[in-house]
Amino acid sequence: MKKYLIILVTVLLTSGFALAQGITVWTHFGDADLEWLQNEATAFEAAFGVPVNIVRVDLGEIKQKMLLSAPEGEAADLIVPIPHDQIGEMAVGGVLADMTQFATSSYLADLSDQARLAFTFNNKLFGLPMYVEGPALIINTDLVPEVPQTFEDFIALAQANTTADTFGFLYDIGNFYFSYIWLRSNGGYVFDRDANGDLVPTALGVNNEGAVKGAELIKKFRYDYGLIPEGTDYGVADGLFIDGALGMIYNGPWAIANYRDAGLNIEVMPVPAAADGTEFSGFMGVQGVLMNEFSTNKVDAANFAKWLIRPDAQVSLAQLTGKIPSSNSAAAQVADDPVIAGFAAALANAEPMPNIPEMGNVWGPMGDSLTVILESPDSNVSEILDRAAAQILGN
């Protein structure tokens, strides 16, 4: 018995001693993106001698995991990357390091304004932007050889391609991230800005006249135009597009690699403007590198963060996946790529998602209200949106 105890003690004593070395990175990347990150990490290790341990964490989990485990020293040194709308709660929660000091003036000068503002919270830069992304109209040119010139054109094409075997136009309609384009283009917004240009969490525009009009349009997609049936979610639309049974999808650059692998001929373009002059643009996201405030190796973490935002690295990522580099010089290098050019055109007037912590309360109620609106052709849109607004405000 004593012998076993001694063995137990030895095992326990030795097992916990593996010393931390290098840096740990949390990422939600998969497939091609992840490969890119791994290659960058290998190159970084060769140059700096600092090993990088890459850990997959789902995007939906990163916030909660950071808030809970970062103060206990159990979180990664860096998060590569995260959409900027997620940073508010983490910044207020004190788990993000202020990265202002790591952003050199030349880096900032090369950065697009939208990208810089997206990661600026309380006048501090909480992340180094890597790339800009957002949904655009992606067309399977084998099914839809002529690209639409106007919104009316687009609807007509979509209807013409909705046959017994194929669909004309589908997207994740119940997701506020995608559907915001229709609300915004008709005059809706999430938070208004005050005189200083700061977002005001109480000034909601999700239930104003324009938002209601936009939501009515979303309903039309299902009930008037007969395009997007019940049960359409991201997986359905994406799966059908890959199978070549869908003509047009409203989706972001993250899906491009899969579409190319499936051998599709695609064209990326903005949702065309309507005959009455309404132009369509929705959310855009900026993804950037965040640093853990409680990191024990901020020096190396900062180096890797800077390594990843080199224009070279941004260009290689862009070529791989159609993401628009956040740095102007890198963006210029890949501007000829038709896919990147398509996304760039679609996102030119897009609005960066709000990055204040209150944004975390918006997704749930707005997604819910879209689902309820779409439930029946005679749902009361303005009443439903009013209720969502009340929920967002916490009443």
Binding site: G30, Q38, N39, L68, S69, E72, A164
Partner: protein, 432 residues
């Protein structure tokens, strides 16, 4: 019996009217057989009735007294096959998705072929490929001795099946029993050594530059299965170790406070365990046990104690204390009686507690997800969840392939110990 027939027909015609009224007028994209339900019902009734009739007639000629019973048995078979079909439908689909090269569950439907394929009721076989399994398993680099272990494992498995068949064939069960014990040990040890020997470093590819690139989480399911087997196995053993003495004390000893303690055990486990997640997180943090298997195993075992003790107490109460009493009279100590008499006769129950804990832990993901932060320590539950809780979409093909692989160990364990699992439910598990 005869009077039931008109009533039955009446119900069917009512159903027909109701269904016709409910049928949607708008055109849908579904492939439909007009009045398919009626056709199916008629076909089912005809087939069942036909088989029953055949059995009845067969019975008439062979054993007239049993004819009705034959008919009833035939109908029962039909009904149970229907139930099996419904049970297996999702399982078949899971397999089909894991073989689908397009990584989606809601793919475009084929335009040709049998109506079952065209309607999407059965998966489209033209898209089958092993690509998902290749992706999931392709970057597992095993050492030669691990291949040997796998070989030993497969041989032992074949031997086990052969022994099972031999027993059915009427060989001497006593001699077979000995061989079965040996094979069982070989199986157990080969899996055990395999589980302990696999490390996270074995999952990599070599890139063009000749450098090792560590695999992404989608390609490490073997590692996650290994981790899960380790955690679940140790948790099961822990639960058994800690709960047996407690169950014994409750069942066989009389002392002040026994009832109160028992009540505490019963009621404390009613707290919704994982809602104390934050508290457990802080506890583990205080003990430096975050992101370690020890922490996870301790947390799981802590949650299992009261239930396991309760079951063991029930089991001991159901067996007569005469054996131990005799031993105690002979001068055996209390501990000796527990160790040498109670534990050996409780092995089936201990196995049951172990298995229950093992199965319960195997696909747990909430607690594991909070306590384990390093990807190399993930369990199957976390890994499978990570496929679906991606940003927008679910990688269905990879999920299904991993799910099928992840289910294999638990299926194997479940069916190997089916007797232990099902037999013990009566013994103590359900008392109270």
């Amino acid at each position: 019996m005869m009077r039931l027939v008109p009533r039955f027909l009446g119900i069917i015609s009512l159903l027909a009217v109701a269904a016709a009224a409910m049928a949607q007028s708008e055109t849908t994209r579904f492939v439909t057989i007009p009045y398919g339900w009626l056709k199916f019902l008629i076909a089912f009734v005809l087939i069942t009735g036909g088989i029953a009739l055949a059995a009845y007639l067969y019975g008439r000629f062979t054993r007239p007294g049993k004819a009705l019973q034959y008919a009833g048995t035939a109908a029962t078979h039909m009904f149970i096959w229907l139930a099996i079909l419904l049970t297996f439908y999702p399982v078949i689909y899971l397999l089909a998705v894991s073989l689908n090269r397009n990584n989606s569950i809601t793919a475009a439907l084929p335009t040709t072929g049998n109506v079952l394929f065209r309607s999407g009721v059965l998966p489209d076989p033209s898209k089958f490929s092993l690509i998902q399994y290749q992706t999931v398993l392709g970057e597992t680099n095993l050492f030669w001795y691990q291949w040997v272990l796998i070989g030993v494992f497969i041989l032992a498995l074949v031997a086990m099946i052969a022994l099972f068949v031999a027993q059915r064939g009427g060989f001497d069960p006593y001699r077979l029993e000995r061989w079965r014990t040996y094979t069982g040990w070989v199986l157990f040890l080969s899996v055990g050594v395999l589980v302990l020997s696999i490390t996270a470093d074995q999952f990599y590819t070599i890139n063009e530059a000749g450098e090792r690139v560590r695999s992404s989480s989608e390609r490490k399911i073997v590692l996650f299965i290994r981790n899960t087997l380790l955690v679940s196995g140790l948790t099961g053993i822990f639960a058994v170790l800690i709960s047996t003495t407690a169950g014994y004390a409750f069942a066989r000893m009389k002392f002040e406070g026994r009832y109160q303690t028992l009540l505490t055990f019963v009621f404390i486990q009613m707290f919704p365990g994982f809602m104390a997640l934050v508290a457990i997180f802080f506890l583990m943090n205080a003990l430096d046990l975050l992101n370690s298997y020890i922490g996870l195993i301790l947390a799981y075992s802590g949650g299992a104690i009261s239930f396991a003790s309760w079951i063991f107490k029930g089991y001991l109460e159901s067996i007569s204390p005469s054996l131990e009493e005799a031993a105690l009279v002979d001068g055996t100590t209390r501990w000796g009686a527990f160790w040498r008499i109670i534990l050996p006769i409780s092995i089936p129950m201990l196995l049951f507690i172990f298995l229950l804990q093992f199965i319960g832990t195997y696909s747990e993901f909430i607690l594991a997800n909070v306590l384990l932060t390093g990807e190399d320590k993930w369990t199957v539950g976390i890994a499978l969840r990570s496929f679906t809780f991606n940003r927008f979409n679910t990688q269905w093909g990879l999920l299904a392939a991993s799910a099928v692989l992840g289910s294999l160990p638990i299926l194997a364990i479940f069916y190997s110990f089916q007797g232990a699992l099902t037999g013990q439910h009566q013994a103590g598990g359900v008392k109270g």
